[in-house]
């Protein structure tokens, strides 16, 4: 059906394009990935960043929510054709689509988050999730009574392995005897949106003695947090601050400041300081971290906070090296 529709759509868009360009001098655009801008996680963080930027600068942006993999290229192309000055693509799975479309529109700026695309008009932003995950791994290990902590990943991809690797290293840093159980929800994009399965994986881990679970699984994570609430155990959120989702049982959240990246990309594109290339942001750039707010304040002791602060300083100073993968000694008991 897309094949039939797209030519029609494009004709309509072509007719509209000139009007759109003159309507706004600077038009930024953003393409959310599957999961949608209200996923209480990754995409929502980007959405909040874009919204904050719009309120601050009084400039509207265009957006597209991808609901099936075939739409990615189409969405990027349409926005570029409609005269967007910069198009931000959220999520690693948009990498190939950005690579294709960036070639077709050499004068449009593209910023892709969580993927690396090598092109003269593409800025790739990657974050050191392993560093933030290291800190929440420490918190999990300090909170655990049983000496067993768990991890539930979404789709089994290298990016999610980074979260798992950092978490494992952080937990082992605090307690070298700790046992870390790992589950991946699946190997297809559906794995980001299967809360039933997430809850089931969490229950399986709780059954084996785990009492803190870190979920890096998009919408699937919501099932994990609910299962933790139901079982009276702890869960750790991801990407955006999810402490509010289940107050009292959310130990913390590993925060990726995608909102900041989105705002920075829009602003730099407008004032001309936007640069292509790769931005690799970690704890030092305050791009990742752990969330502490009124919802999890009672769960975090002063000692836990202090040790995390120390570890943060050590990671920034390079005294602690957090590896992206778990093939080295830091990942084994």
């Amino acid at each position: 059906m897309h094949r039939l529709l797209s030519p029609v759509l494009m004709l309509v868009l072509l007719a509209l394009a000139p009007a759109a360009v003159t309507a706004a001098d600077f038009m930024p655009a953003i393409v959310f990935d599957m999961g949608g801008k209200f996923d209480k996680s990754f995409n929502q963080m980007a959405y909040e960043g874009a919204e904050a930027w719009r309120k601050e600068n009084g400039i509207a942006y265009r957006e597209f929510e991808v609901t099936s993999p075939v739409q990615r290229e189409q969405a990027l192309r349409q926005l570029a054709r409609r005269g967007a000055a910069i198009v931000i693509a959220i999520g690693f799975s948009q990498g190939p689509a950005v690579a294709t479309v960036a070639k077709e529109f050499p004068n449009t700026k593209f910023t892709v988050i969580d993927a690396i695309v090598d092109a003269p008009n593409v800025q790739s932003v990657v974050m050191r999730e392993q560093e933030g995950s290291f800190l929440v791994g420490m918190l999990a290990a300090m909170k655990s009574q049983t000496g067993k902590v768990g991890f539930v990943g979404g789709m089994d991809i290298p990016l999610i392995r980074k979260f798992a690797a950092g978490y494992r290293q952080g937990a082992l840093y605090v307690n070298p005897k700790i046992e870390v159980l790992e589950n991946m929800t699946g190997t297809t994009p559906e794995a980001w949106n299967d809360p039933t399965r997430g809850a089931e994986l969490a229950k399986a881990q709780f059954g084996r003695g785990v009492d803190v679970i870190y979920a890096a699984a998009g919408g699937t994570g919501l099932g994990v947090y609910q299962a933790a609430k139901d079982a009276g155990k702890y869960a750790i959120g991801v990407d955006s601050n999810q402490n509010y989702v289940q107050p009292g049982t959310m130990l913390t959240s590993m925060v990726k400041r995608i909102d900041k990246v989105v705002g920075e990309a829009f602003t730099s594109a407008r004032d001309g300081s936007w640069q292509p290339g790769t931005r690799d942001l970690g704890l030092a750039a305050d791009a990742v971290g752990w969330a502490l707010d009124q919802y999890n304040r009672p769960l975090i002791t002063a000692e836990m906070e202090e040790r995390c602060k120390q570890a943060t300083a050590d990671i920034v100073a390079g005294k602690i090296k957090v590896s992206e993968t778990c093939s080295n000694a830091a990942c084994t008991n």
Partner: protein
């Protein structure tokens, strides 16, 4: 000791995972024993999951929510019946059409009502099916009790006899002066109610709220279980338990980190294909399944 606990946990997980499959498979059983192929279980479950969570969240009552899920399932069943029984449309096509329509329509409606990106608000304890006994909720007990109830209805009552007859040989039923279309509609009513409840289990028991595409193929798996169970209640239940057990074992195997997650994740599906291949054409299929009934006219 450790192993015993592990097995117990595995069984508990299998029962939880089997519940929505079982409800959906029984829904399919009623429709298919009456001669109507039901590929729309996935769509009905998705609609039921949304309606249940949405109604529960608005009214604050789990029971009103469940009623909403049941009614939504029934409406879709009637639509299916209207296309396939009344107008004798292709049953497979009509079923798939419902699935595709629901996959698009439900998130749109959810967004229009709640503006949460195709989700419903999170449900509180009063709006969910909580565990009532033995670590399970009311829907699980209902699902497993529905198995003997279905067996009794199908094999021990006059209505069951007529229902089975209409799926085997509607011409004979018609000759006996019984209304073929009405019997098929009655089967579809039960079908819609059960499929709606299967969805409600996902959004109101297993989870606390609806999210996009949350059925994740369970409706199709239920059809596989129904075929594997040769359209009979108890074997269908066993098939659901087998699939659920494979799924639960998958979660356990993964943490052991011996096999790659891709392989482990494919296990339930490999099992499905193997099982269906082994069962093959083992009979049990209602003979008039998929054939719209056209009343013969005298010359």
């Amino acid at each position: 000791m450790e192993t015993a606990t592990q097995i117990l946990l595995l069984v508990a997980a299998a029962i939880r995972l089997a519940t929505p499959l079982l409800l959906a498979a029984l829904a399919g059983l009623y429709a298919e024993r009456s001669g109507v192929i039901d590929l729309s279980l996935e769509g009905k479950m998705l609609a039921g999951a949304f309606a249940g969570a949405a109604v529960a969240s608005v009214t604050g009552s789990v029971w009103v929510g469940a009623l909403g899920a049941i009614l939504t399932g029934i409406v879709l069943s009637l639509l299916h019946g209207f296309a396939t029984v009344t107008h004798r449309g292709n049953q497979v096509v009509a079923g798939m059409a419902i699935n595709i329509a629901m996959a698009g329509l439900i998130p749109t409606v959810a967004q229009a009502i709640f503006a949460l990106g195709g989700q419903t608000p999170q449900l509180g304890p009063a709006q969910r099916f909580l565990n009532v006994a033995l670590g399970n909720n009311a829907l699980t007990f209902f699902a497993f009790l529905a198995v003997p109830a279905t067996g009794w209805l199908l094999y021990r009552t006059g209505w069951g006899l007529r229902l089975r007859a209409v799926g085997e040989n509607p011409y004979a039923v018609d000759t006996a002066g019984l209304p073929v279309a009405r019997l098929r509609y009655q089967a579809l009513l039960v079908n819609g109610a059960l499929a709606g409840l299967a969805g409600a289990y996902l959004s109101m028991a297993a989870n606390a709220g609806f999210s996009r595409d949350m059925t994740a193929g369970k409706g199709y798996l239920a059809i596989a279980a129904l075929i594997f169970g040769r359209w009979a209640p108890v074997p269908t239940m066993l098939a659901c338990l087998l699939f659920a057990f494979a799924d639960a074992a998958q979660a356990q195997l993964q943490t052991v980190r011996i096999l790659p997650s891709q392989f482990v994740g494919a296990l339930p599906y490999i099992l499905t294909v193997l099982v269906l291949a082994l069962v093959g054409k083992g009979g049990g299929m209602p003979k008039a399944l998929g054939i719209p009934y056209v009343k013969e006219r005298g010359a």
